[in-house]
Amino acid sequence: MFQATPLTRRKGYSELVARTIFLAMTAMMVLPLILIVSYLFYKAWPILSPEFLLAVPRNGMRAGGIWSPLLGTIYLVVISLVIATPIGVLAAVFLNEYARENWMTRVVNLAVVNLAGVPSIVHALFGLGAFVLFAHLGKSILAASLTLAIMTLPVIIASTKEALASVPLAFREACWNVGATRWQTIRHVVLPNSISGILTGVILQVSRAAGETAPIMFTGVVFFKAIPEGKLFAYGLFDQCMALSMHLFTISTQVPDVPAALPYGTAVVLLSSVLAVNAMAIALRVYLRARKKW
């Protein structure tokens, strides 16, 4: 290294200032997250236990646990993804692998992008009109799941398309050149090498579906529903159910004299499950990227 000259010293000083500012900006992003999580855990600590997860709410939701809303959220998320994933993935495969660039695919792509930006309360009203009233499903888990599916579908399509597009065109052409059909090419070369991206996109929708309140509030979720404790299949498809996000809203604002730890405990469970699912997606991505084949 050369000896420092006045010029390098001056430059070093301004570099230090810039670095400090950027570091402070980054810290401002991370700090609130840490604060929120630690504050939630601190407030919820007295109530967190396995019984809190597995007990149903009691005494007008002022005591007991969160089994019914937790189970309801799981139902809604799983059913909505079971509906949205195959449709979304197949639509993306069609758009990316089969459809030719023309006005129709341009319209569809535009619709997908715009649908992803529709506010969730609008999805709620659509779900109410289409599934609850028009399709006569009533306020039910099925109607709410369908509404969530409509909401997650465009994002699944977009992320799947991106994953498919990351497989180089040269691989497809090489397959076509040796007489493979489009489907054989997709099945043996394109899908195996994009499945990680597809799964990551789907998993990330779990947290979105679990966190939303508006779309399910009009279409299938209620303030309170009594279910038997500890039973896994406590809800039917056409039942109404409770959900974590809605439950959090209810006990924080609608029910008087709720012990403070209860809403914090609910928030911790909601937040942890979302973070856990996201961590799963990251782990899957890291694992599959390590096995990337080119």
Binding site: E173, V178, G179, V189
Partner: protein, 252 residues
């Protein structure tokens, strides 16, 4: 009637407004090496894509005229995938599929319905030997084809192109991404294959056509300037002055 003969009859291809081929008529004879030379944008790659109809996958490409493989118009081919298996196609950049070396070569036979492990193993070994790659990879057939070096991947690509037992082998500027030593090895491979199949060699290296080709066609801006015996094309007196100027580096 499988003799690996190709006729181009007044072949025209447009990409939107741009005419890539402007009415090209010539033939490729059984078991010859036909060199196709010409500067960039002269329609060489487009010509190859019409033979196995991968031109169909190019958005906006409009083809008129005819291409006949063994006398059959490719447009009327009852089985497009069968037609493609008659043609081996090697792209300019080496493409190892993200599969094992074995699966790279076994891919086409499998897609055509061959499931017997013994048959597949025989086919894979034969094709890798023909492509002069067997000795280098025989102990690691399970490793990824994409992890091979560029020159090895190009020979893997050739092995894959041979794996469906084609009558015609088309190579599109196969040497642009590989070193001269590997290029020479592949040229030896092509000399060996000549007795078994027709070879169309599109190249941007005129000397490569001179070394290998029985006849050479010169394409310029989508027109066929001339096609003749290679020694005539590279002589002092080819039919067209343009040909003389191109092969001697006066333009291009």
């Amino acid at each position: 009637m499988s003799d690996g003969k190709i006729d181009f009859v007044d072949l025209r291809v447009r990409y939107g407004r741009r005419e890539a081929l402007k009415g090209v008529t010539f033939d490729v004879r059984r078991h010859e090496i036909l060199g196709i030379i010409g500067p960039a944008q002269s329609g060489k790659t487009t010509l190859l894509r019409t033979i196995n109809r991968t031109i169909d996958d190019v958005p906006g490409a409009v083809v008129s005229g005819a291409v006949r493989v063994d006398g059959e118009d490719v447009r009327l081919a009852p089985d497009l995938y069968g037609l493609r298996r008659k043609i081996g196609m090697v792209a300019p950049l080496p493409v190892g599929l993200p599969l094992s070396i074995f699966d790279n070569v076994a891919f086409a036979p499998r897609m055509a319905g061959i499931r017997n492990r013994h048959d597949l193993e025989g086919r894979v070994e034969q094709c890798l030997r023909q492509a002069a790659l067997w000795e280098e990879v025989k102990d690691r057939l399970d490793s990824l084809g994409t992890k091979l070096s560029g020159g090895q991947q190009q020979r893997l690509t050739i092995a894959r192109a041979l794996s469906h037992d084609p009558e015609v082998l088309c190579l599109d500027e196969f040497s642009i991404a590989i070193d001269p030593v590997t290029t020479m090895r592949i040229e030896d491979v092509l000399r060996d294959l000549r007795s078994r199949m027709t070879i169309i060699l599109v190249t941007n290296l005129v000397q490569q056509a001179r070394r290998l080709a029985d006849r050479t066609a010169f394409l310029l801006n989508g027109n066929l300037v001339e096609v003749d015996r290679t020694d005539v094309i590279f002589s002092e007196q080819p039919a067209s002055r343009k040909t003389y100027e191109y092969v001697n580096g006066i333009f291009g």
